[in-house]
Symmetry: C2
Subunit: 109 residues, 2 copies
Amino acid sequence: MSDTTQMLKGILDGCLLAIIKEGEIYGYELAAKLESYGFRSLSEGTIYPLLLRMQKEGLISATLRKSTAGPKRKYYTLTEKGEQELDLFIVRWEQVSSSVDNVLSKRGI
Amino acid sequence: MSDTTQMLKGILDGCLLAIIKEGEIYGYELAAKLESYGFRSLSEGTIYPLLLRMQKEGLISATLRKSTAGPKRKYYTLTEKGEQELDLFIVRWEQVSSSVDNVLSKRGI
DNA sequence: AAAGTATATCTTGTATTGCAAGGTATTTAA
DNA sequence: TTAAATACCTTGCAATACAAGATATACTTT
């Protein structure tokens, strides 16, 4: 297990939502995009199950499209529920990350 | 389950290390300190098992002392290994949190 | 003395989730 | 026809926050 594995729990889903909000995107491309944002290479065993879960929860919706090279791609877009969930995620993230920053810079509130 | 539960995974241990580094402290007091830093009230079922785990791993060491009011307190201090682990945590945190911030502010690297 | 309250710690079991490992299918190039 | 790149999925494991419940001490109130 990677040393950042635990730290990614509960934030990956929000990050996926944020990226999908930027525009329709498929899983394989998403992995590359995450890396461009600074995440260490994430396994497909992480991303695909997560996308399926979020689709089941109605946060994203998918449509299959032919690819120029390779099998069909599954393009995802945000649902309205997904946008709401993203907003909630951002609130949670700001609350938690500022708390951690407070601890690390040793000042209470 | 709280909405920030998953998000706390992999960061609580680092935060405890950072607080213990400030000075000897016991579990019950730690819970209050975390709240003062902005964390929502953390269960004792979270903190005590975590402290025991970190002690087992040799990151912190404990000594029992009498309390003025109540049962004995278990005071924790950082070991050298704990300081090293804290340093590693900070690197991980900065790597991950900046990645998330990149995603949320929609800019690649 | 007895009962209640605040302090202080621990244990057991559950839910969630990242991820490794392995599998399948399609298109193009060597 | 073989290889490589693309693209997706499934199963099972490991790690951890936390709810729920138990225990014990000291002080205060009745």
